[in-house]
C-alpha cells in the first residue's frame, strides 16, 4: 500500500493522484508485458540480474568444488572449461552491468526529480533484449554446448578451427544481443540526466550519484561498440570464413585482443563507478554532513572515465608489444590510482568530519573500503610490467580481479540494497540477519581470495581444471573453497533476509535514514509517476534544507500538477542551468518493445542454428516493428495530438527544435562513431601489423562510383539542412517534396554503393583485406538505406500532419543521422580508397 493512500489529502489533490494513476498506472495480467515505466522495468532488471548472479555463483561453487583437492575428478576438463567461461561471462555481462543499469534506471529519475526516463519504450526494449539474450546464452549450459574459451574469448582458441562447436557462437551472438540492452540504457541515461532534471537543478547541483551514472553511461556508449564490432567480425569469420583473425588469410588474432580490451578495461570502471556513486551517496547520509569536496569527486569521476580507456594494453603485457609502448600503459595504469585515491580520501574526510552511524548499509560500505583498497594496491602491483609478467595468468590475477570487482561493485550494491529497500518496500531491513549475512560474506570472501594471492604466487595457473598433489597448492585451494562456501551461505542468508523483509519488516518512516536526496520525498512504495508535482530544486541537499518537501509535493503544490490532458509528462530542462525548456511528453505502455526484442531473438537464434533465410525474414520483421515504433511518435494520435499546455508552462518538446530525441540521436552517434572508429582501427591495424596482409597494387573499388555515391549523400544532407532551416523560420512549404527528394538521394547512394560492391569482385573469404572492405562498405550501405528510409517516412508523416511548421521536431533528428553519414562516408572514402591509392600496394 502506498503512503499516499494514508495521507489526508484535499479532494483536488486526491483527484490529481487518481488521474495520475489512470494515466501512469501499470496494467496487470498479460498486459503487464507492455509496461514501460522505469520503476517497474528497473526492478525487472535488478531481479533478473540477481537470478543471473545466483547462476554465476552456482558455477563458482562448482569451480571451487573441483579445485578443493588435488587430482579431483568431479568434472571433466571440457566441462570445467565451460563452467569457468560461463562463470565469468554471466557475472560480467548478465549480472554486474545489467543490475547496475537496473539500479540506475530505477533511481535516476527519482533522484533528479523526473517522472520517468526520457525514452520509456527503449527502457523496456533494453530489458527484453537483456532477458532473451541472457536466456539464449545460459541455455547453452543446459544443452552442454556452452562457450569454453574463457570469458574474453581469445582467438584463435575461440575461432572455428579450435572451437568447432556452437559454444563460441552462443557467446558472440548472445552477448551482442545483451549489449543492445546496455547501449540503449546508456544512451537514455545520458540524455535523461542531462535533459530531464527538475527545474533549477543546475549541473553543479545534481546528486553525485547522477554524475557517476552519467560517466558510466557515456563509458558504455563509447566502450561497448569495440566489442560489438569484434563479435560481429569473429562471428562472420566462424560462419562464413572471413579471415579477420586468421594469420594465413591476412588477419591477426591480436586484433581481437585489442578490440576486446578496448571494451574490457573500461568495463571494469563501468562496473566500479556506480559502486563508487553509491558510496558517495551513502557516506554523507550516515556521516550526517555534506560530502567533503563535491568538486574533487566530479573531477575524479571525469578523469577515471577518460583514463580508463588508456589502459587496455595492460591486459596484453605478455603479447610481445615493444617495451616503450608497455611503459606508456604501465604509467597510465598507475595514473588511474590518483582519481581513485581522491575519492577514498574524500570519503574518509567526510567520515572524519561527520558523526558516522554504523547502520547496516554503512557496514557494507566499510567492507567495500577494506576490500577495494586491497584490490587497488594489487592493481598497482600488476601495473608494473616485470611483476605482471611473473604472475600473468595465475591465480594472483584472479584474486586481484575479485578484490576489485566484488569489493568495488558487490559490496556497494549490497549497501544500496539495504539503503534503498525501504524506498521499494516501505519497510526497514533487519539489522540482525543483515549483519550475520554481511560477516559471512565478508569473511568468506577474504578467506577465498586473500589466500588465492598466495596460490597464484606459488605458480598456480588460472583455468587449470586440476593439479598434482606434489605442487603444494592443496591446502590453499581447500581454504579458498571453504571460504567460497562460507560466502555462499552468506548469500543464502541474505536471500532469506530479503524474503522475510517484505512480510515482517518494520514500517519505514518517510525519510528513515534522514537522507538528503529527492528519492526520499516520494511515497513508499513508489507510485508509477514518482512525483505528483515536480518541485524546483536549487540545492544539493533538498530534504535537509526543506523537510516539508514530501508533503508539498504530494499536495500538488509544484509543477506539472495537471493531468486533464491525459499525457505522461515530465520537465525538459537546460543541461547546464536547469531552467525549464520544454514539457516532455512520454510514451505509454506498448507491445512494441517486446515484439521488437522477440523478432531480434529469432534473428539471434536463427543465426545460431544457421538458418539464414529465417534470420533474414526475422530481420525484416524487426525493422518493420522498429519503424512502426518510430511512427507512433510526436503528434501521432497515441502520443500528443493536442499541443495545449497549462498557462505558464513551456511547450511540448515535439513542438520545439531541440527536444530529447535530438540528444538521443546525437548520443547514439557517439556509440555509432565508436564502432566506426574501431572498424577503422581494425583496417589500419591489419594493414600495418598483420604479417600476411595483402594490399592490392590498385584499389578494387570504383572511384567514380564512390564519389557519385558520396555526392548523392552530400546533396541530400545539404537539402535537409535547407529544409530544417526553413522549419526554424516556421516555413513548411515544399516540406514533403523535399523529404521525398532526400529519400530518393539516399536510395541513389544505396544503389551506387551496391554497384561498387558488385563491381569490386571481392573475395572476402580469402583475404582479410577484401573481408574488411566488404564490412566497411556494408556499414555505409546500411546507413544510406536507413537515411533514405527515414526521409521517406518523414515525407509520409507530413501528409498525415504529424510533421509541419507547428511540429518541426523530427526532421532535425533525421538530419543528425545524415550529418553523421556524410562525415563517416568521406572519412571512409579516404581510408579505404584515398590512402591505399596514394601509398600503393604492399
Amino acid at each position: 500500500m502506498s503512503d499516499t493512500e494514508n495521507a489526508s489529502l484535499s479532494p483536488e489533490a486526491r483527484e490529481l493522484h487518481d488521474g495520475l494513476d489512470r494515466v501512469w498506472g501499470n496494467p496487470r495480467g498479460l498486459r503487464a508485458l507492455t509496461v514501460v515505466n522505469h520503476t517497474t522495468v528497473g526492478l525487472r532488471f535488478i531481479i533478473t540480474g540477481a537470478v543471473f548472479f545466483l547462476i554465476g555463483g552456482l558455477l563458482a561453487m562448482l569451480i571451487r568444488t573441483q579445485l578443493a583437492f588435488p587430482d579431483q575428478e568431479f568434472m571433466s576438463h571440457e566441462t570445467y572449461n565451460q563452467v569457468f567461461t560461463m562463470h565469468g561471462t554471466v557475472m560480467m555481462f548478465l549480472f554486474a552491468i545489467p543490475i547496475l543499469e537496473g539500479l540506475a534506471i530505477y533511481m535516476i529519475p527519482k533522484m533528479i526529480g523526473a517522472r520517468d526516463l526520457v525514452c520509456p519504450r527503449l527502457t523496456a526494449f533494453g530489458y527484453w533484449c537483456y532477458l532473451f539474450g541472457g536466456i539464449i546464452l545460459t541455455s547453452s549450459l543446459l544443452l552442454e554446448m556452452a562457450p569454453a574459451s574463457g570469458w574474453f574469448m581469445y582467438t584463435p582458441l575461440s575461432s572455428g578451427e579450435y572451437s568447432p562447436g556452437r559454444g563460441s557462437d552462443f557467446w558472440l551472438l548472445g552477448i551482442t544481443f545483451v549489449e543492445i540492452s546496455a547501449l540503449s540504457a546508456g544512451v537514455e541515461l545520458v540524455v535523461s540526466i542531462l535533459r530531464t532534471r527538475t527545474q533549477g537543478m543546475a549541473l553543479h547541483k545534481m546528486p553525485l550519484f547522477a554524475w557517476y551514472i552519467l560517466a558510466m553511461a557515456l563509458m558504455i556508449v563509447v566502450g561497448f561498440p569495440p566489442l560489438i564490432l569484434g563479435s560481429i567480425l569473429l562471428e562472420l569469420e566462424r560462419a562464413t570464413g572471413m579471415p579477420f583473425f586468421d594469420v594465413s588469410g591476412g588477419g591477426d588474432p591480436v586484433l581481437w585482443a585489442h578490440l576486446f580490451w578496448l571494451f574490457g578495461h573500461p568495463e571494469v570502471y563501468i562496473i566500479f563507478l556506480p559502486g563508487a556513486g553509491i558510496v558517495s551517496t551513502l557516506i554523507p547520509v550516515f556521516a550526517g554532513r555534506p560530502i567533503v569536496g563535491y568538486g574533487w569527486v566530479v573531477a575524479a569521476v571525469i578523469i577515471m572515465g577518460f583514463v580508463s580507456f588508456g589502459l587496455w594494453v595492460h591486459h596484453m603485457f605478455t603479447l610481445g608489444i615493444p617495451q616503450l609502448a608497455l611503459a606508456f600503459f604501465s604509467a597510465a595504469s598507475m595514473l588511474v590510482a590518483i582519481p581513485t585515491a581522491i575519492q577514498i580520501f574524500v570519503w574518509l574526510s567526510t567520515l572524519w568530519l561527520g558523526r558516522p552511524v554504523m547502520k547496516l548499509p554503512m557496514l557494507w560500505i566499510v567492507g567495500f573500503l577494506v576490500i577495494f583498497v586491497l584490490g587497488g594496491l594489487t592493481g598497482v602491483m600488476l601495473a608494473l610490467v616485470p611483476f605482471n609478467w611473473q604472475v600473468h595468468d595465475t591465480h594472483f590475477v584472479v584474486a586481484h580481479m575479485h578484490y576489485v570487482l566484488v569489493g568495488g561493485m558487490l559490496f556497494p550494491l549490497m549497501a544500496a540494497l539495504y539503503y534503498w529497500l525501504p524506498q521499494v518496500s516501505g519497510r526497514m531491513p533487519s539489522e540482525r540477519l543483515g549483519r550475520w549475512s554481511f560477516w559471512l560474506i565478508f569473511l568468506g570472501f577474504n578467506t577465498t581470495f586473500l589466500v588465492m594471492h598466495w596460490t597464484g604466487l606459488l605458480g598456480m595457473r588460472r583455468r587449470v581444471f586440476t593439479y598434482d598433489a606434489d605442487m603444494g597448492w592443496g591446502l590453499y585451494n581447500l581454504i579458498s573453497s571453504v571460504g567460497g562456501f562460507m560466502m555462499a551461505a552468506g548469500i543464502a542468508l541474505l536471500l532469506l533476509d530479503i524474503a522475510l523483509h517484505f512480510r515482517f519488516g518494520k514500517k519505514a518512516s518517510q525519510n528513515p535514514w534522514n537522507a538528503d536526496g529527492l528519492e526520499w520525498a516520494m511515497p513508499k512504495p513508489p507510485t508509477a509517476y514518482n512525483f505528483v508535482s515536480l518541485p524546483a530544486i536549487e540545492t544539493r541537499h533538498p530534504l535537509w534544507e526543506d523537510p516539508e518537501l514530501p508533503r508539498t509535493i504530494e499536495e500538488g503544490r509544484h509543477g506539472l500538477a495537471n493531468i486533464d490532458h491525459g499525457r505522461r509528462e515530465t520537465w525538459g530542462t537546460d543541461p547546464l542551468t536547469g531552467k525549464l525548456r520544454e514539457t516532455i511528453h512520454l510514451s505509454g505502455n506498448s507491445w512494441l518493445p517486446l515484439l521488437a526484442a522477440l523478432a531480434l531473438a529469432v534473428v539471434c537464434i536463427s543465426l545460431l542454428v544457421r538458418i539464414y533465410p529465417l534470420a533474414a525474414v526475422a530481420t525484416v520483421v524487426s525493422i518493420v516493428i522498429l519503424l512502426h515504433w518510430s511512427w507512433v511518435n510526436g503528434a501521432h494520435p497515441k502520443m500528443a495530438p493536442d499541443a495545449t499546455v497549462a498557462p505558464g508552462e513551456p511547450p511540448l518538446h515535439s513542438r520545439t527544435m531541440n527536444g530529447p530525441g535530438v540528444w538521443t540521436m546525437s548520443v547514439s552517434h557517439l556509440a555509432n562513431g565508436s564502432l566506426f572508429l574501431s572498424l577503422l582501427f581494425g583496417w589500419f591495424y591489419l594493414w600495418t601489423v598483420a604479417p600476411e596482409w595483402q594490399m592490392p597494387a590498385t584499389s578494387p573499388l570504383s572511384m567514380p562510383m564512390l564519389v557519385a555515391a558520396g555526392g548523392a549523400l552530400t546533396l541530400g544532407t545539404l537539402w535537409l539542412v535547407k529544409l530544417v532551416r526553413r522549419l526554424r523560420q516556421h516555413d513548411d512549404t515544399g516540406l514533403s517534396g523535399g523529404l521525398y527528394f532526400a529519400a530518393a538521394l539516399g536510395a541513389l547512394q544505396s544503389v551506387l554503393l551496391g554497384v561498387v560492391i558488385w563491381q569490386a569482385d571481392l573475395a572476402p573469404t580469402e583475404t582479410a583485406h577484401d573481408a574488411t572492405l566488404l564490412v566497411a562498405l556494408l556499414y555505409v550501405l546500411i546507413h544510406a538505406l536507413l537515411g533514405g528510409l527515414l526521409c521517406l517516412l518523414q515525407g509520409l508523416r507530413v501528409g498525415y500532419g504529424y510533421v509541419s511548421a507547428e511540429v518541426p521536431y523530427e526532421p532535425v533528428v533525421v538530419l543528425r543521422l545524415w550529418n553523421y553519414n556524410v562525415v563517416v562516408y568521406w572519412i571512409l572514402f579516404v581510408a579505404i580508397w584515398g590512402i591505399p591509392t596514394l601509398l600503393g600496394g604492399g
Binding site: V298, I303, F306, Q323, F328, A332
Partner: protein, 117 residues
Amino acid sequence: MMKHLLKLTHPIHLVGGVTLWGIWFVAIYGGLSVACSVAPPAAEQDTLTGINVVIGILTLVVAGLLLWLAWASVGAARKTSLRRECYFAFTSAGVYLFSAMGTLFVGIPVIFLPPCL
C-alpha cells in the same frame, strides 16, 4: 557558439584536459606502433632515435599547453561572479593540471627505453 565553448568557465572544459591527454596518448601509442612497423631504428641506437625525440617534444608541448590551460582556468574562475561558472572553471583547472602531470608521467619512459624492442 564556438566562442562560447572556448570560454574556460564553460563545462565543456571539464573534459578538455583529459580529451587532450587522450588524443596525445593515442597519437604517441599509434605513432610509435606505425613508426616501428614502417621504419624501425637500429637496436644500437638505444634511446637516441628520432621516434624518442619526436614523442618527447610532443609530450613537452602538450604538457605545456595543459599547464597553461590549468593556470588560465584558475584565472577565469577568479574573474567570474557567477557561482556556477566559478565551480566549472576551478574543477576544469584541476582536471587540466592532472592531465598535464599525467602527460609528463606517461611520457617519461622515452628518456630511458628504446622505441621498438
